[in-house]
Amino acid sequence: MSLNVPTMAEMMANGETPDVLFWVGCAGSFDDRAKKITKALVKILNHCNVKFAVLGTEESCTGDPAKRAGNEFTFQMQAMMNIQVLNGYEVKKIVTACPHCFNTLKNEYPELGGNYEVVHHTQLIQDLINTGKLALEGKQTYKGKKITFHDPCYLGRANDVYEAPRSLIEKLDAELVEMKRCKTKGLCCGAGGAQMFKEAEKGNKEINIERTEDALETQAGIIATGCPFCNTMMTDGVKNFNKEEEIKVLDVAELIANAAEL
């Protein structure tokens, strides 16, 4: 099935306004693993006939890694340019599959003139299920499978979103098993605060290994995440233990798309 991914520019040219803008993010656009998450979400949006658009080449980094790395200039330059584009298209609602984009767009853009309703993709999908647009009843793909959810810091502690991704996993008829550190006490994957783009400081362990151990302890066959960076870190962690055959690291959107056989 080919994906239907209209851009804002195309929509405008046709005199249409989308209900929601899908902010793909840099990882979702360029990282090979994260692109699969992007496509899974688009499949869901297409399947549910959600009227959405992407910015395409007009999208640019939100500036999150620059801000966390201490470079406020670069952050605000990016923010101002993005806000000009978003306001130019009169965007009202944004969905994104990246908690870092989510946090920045939702919390840090308003003061700079960018006011939008921003939702994480797990929240949007939860809404699609609740309003009956997406049905998972009787789907067997993950029935009874043990799935654990790793809370992305910028979704959980940073924005208090804990239930949306979990409710989706429950909709799969799967067994949600929590790690010993979860929700507000969840351990970081090690990628936040611009750490994704640098080597870690000297220590005795990598953070993603520590976190992967938490996940392995649950005996879950699937580690679900809601963040492209957490996904990378957990995937690397699983590989480190040579468990990539038995344990899959998947985004919640991928689980839903797979279960719905999209």
């Binding site: 991914v5 793909v24 840099c26 979702g28 656009s29 360029f30 692109k35 496509k39 688009v42 992407v54 395409g56 080449t57 640019s60 980094c61 500036g63 890694p65 620059a66 801000k67 966390r68 790395a69 201490g70 470079n71 406020e72 200039f73 670069t74 605000q76 330059m77 990016q78 101002m80 340019m81 000009q84 946090n103 939702k106 919390n107 840090e108 700079l112 810091c153 502690r157 940073a158 924005n159 208090d160 006490k185 351990l187 970081c188 090690g190 936040g192 605060g193 611009a194 750490q195 783009f197 640098k198 080597e199 870690a200 400081e201 000297k202 220590g203 005795n204 362990k205 953070i207 520590e210």
Partner: protein, 446 residues
């Protein structure tokens, strides 16, 4: 009469020195930059009520929470007895509330005694936990030396204080029974639950005409010891991690009520960015406020932090929950959020002294970076675990980010890989080296 004068003098000195120290601490805190933490007072009172008064966040670790609760409630309730001691001390009476409150007095002092006993047990367990169990978070290197002594000293002072209370009440009870109490026209028993019990055990010793002078002396030692410990404690607080018993309240009131993920947008940067992006802006136009002093980007020293960061530093009681939850610290990195708070306080005390002795612009050649290394600053993942964990809503993360901002924007000191990431964002609008024109390629790929 002499007793009253001595008491009044001790009180004046005790409260006076405390007042002076508080004034110094207040001035130190106000060295920080301004930040608006005024609005939404109902939410603020609620936060203070739950987090400080109700100790909500302590209960994520139930056993220490209960022990701490015993100490805390004992501390709060004992203040009633303290009021009596002050009234008695200044008026020369004995147990002023005994007649004023009647039966409720017996209940109240009994309640204080029970709480004091629980507090004593908690204190002993806490001492054992620090010195025998050696929990990792109490033996980390930032606690070596003074912080460990400080912690033990507080616990020992608490034991002395409780011992004084029981010495006072027990000896007074025995005196009361043998008709020698200072309480006039009274005999029988006070009936305080614990001192009554101890007195029962001691009574045989005093059965046959035991001289009351020793008992009276011990009662006075307990009474004076109690008030002396209170003043000692009060004046020790501003130098100690134990300051949290007072500052937890304002510190939680002034909590950050925004989502934890929201970092401040630096206003000075916003103005410059707006100028850069606005084609019609006149770069030579006079600045809006010609008297405005240009702020340093980020924080090099404590004056560049906000007053709330500095209040945080004084409030920290060095429990180390932040550090034990920190992913960097757990994996052996140098970063410890608790150390960041301790360093900030140590540096602030030093800067405060400098300002008082040499004036506001004195430069001692040091900065917060004399205490915090760059390696610590760069190890943070900004995961907010430390912020979430703190039982009194301290925010070490905002200090770490301000230190990063200084390093990056003032000194251009940044890990090399991050320079690459920043250049990519500036040139291609992504942290990696991809062409912006390829951003939608995923939609056409299989």
């Amino acid at each position: 009469m002499i007793q009253i004068i001595v008491f009044a003098l001790i009180s004046i000195v005790g409260f006076g020195v405390f007042g002076y120290n508080i004034w110094k601490v207040r001035n130190n805190i106000l060295l920080g930059r301004d930040i608006d933490r005024k609005g939404n007072s109902s939410e603020r009172w609620k936060t203070m009520f739950l987090v400080a008064f109700g100790q909500q966040k302590m209960f994520s670790r139930p056993i220490p929470a209960l022990l701490h609760l015993a100490l805390y409630v004992a501390f709060v309730i004992t203040q009633i007895e303290l009021i009596e001691i002050i009234i008695d001390g200044l008026s020369g009476q004995h147990r002023f509330f005994y007649f004023a409150l009647g039966g409720f007095y017996t209940f109240m002092i009994s309640f204080i005694e029970v709480l004091s006993l629980l507090a004593l047990i908690a204190t002993i367990i806490f001492l054992a936990r620090r010195n025998l169990l050696k929990l990792p978070r109490f033996t980390m290197k930032e606690l070596v030396g003074w912080p460990t002594k400080d912690a033990n000293l507080i616990l020992i002072m608490e034991i002395v204080l409780v011992t004084c209370i029981f010495t006072m009440n027990t000896t007074d009870e025995v005196l009361f029974r043998i008709g020698g109490s200072h309480v006039e026209h009274a005999n029988g028993s006070f009936g305080f639950i614990i001192s009554n019990f101890i007195a029962d055990l001691l009574m045989p010793m005093f059965a046959d005409g035991y001289p009351t002078s020793t008992l009276e002396l011990m009662e006075r030692i307990g009474w004076w010891g109690h008030i002396a410990m209170v003043f000692a404690f009060l004046n020790y607080l501003p130098y100690s991690k134990h300051f949290h018993i007072l500052l937890a309240f304002p510190n939680t009131y002034f909590s950050n009520l925004e989502k934890k993920g929201k970092f401040t947008n630096m206003e000075s940067v916003t103005n410059e960015v707006k100028l850069m992006l606005d084609p019609s802006a006149d770069p030579y136009a006079a600045p809006a406020d010609p008297n405005a002093t240009p702020l340093r980007f980020g924080a090099k020293d404590v004056q560049d932090l906000t007053w709330k960061n500095l209040l945080d530093a004084y409030t920290c009681t060095e429990c180390g929950r932040c550090t034990s939850s920190c992913p960097a610290n757990q994996t052996g990195k140098l970063l410890s959020p608790r150390k960041i708070m301790m360093d900030t306080r140590d540096r602030l005390v030093e800067v405060g002294e400098n300002v008082r002795q040499h004036g506001k612009d004195y430069d001692d050649g040091k900065s917060l970076f004399s205490y915090v290394s760059e390696e610590e600053v760069w190890a943070c993942t900004s995961c907010n675990a430390c912020v979430d964990e703190c039982p009194v809503n301290i925010d070490p993360l905002s200090i770490i980010i301000d230190l990063r901002r200084y390093l990056v924007m003032e000194e251009s000191k940044i890990p090399t890989e991050l320079t690459g990431m920043l250049t990519n964002i500036e040139n291609n609008g992504a942290p990696w080296q991809f062409s912006p024109s390829d951003r939608l390629n995923w939609a056409k790929e299989d």
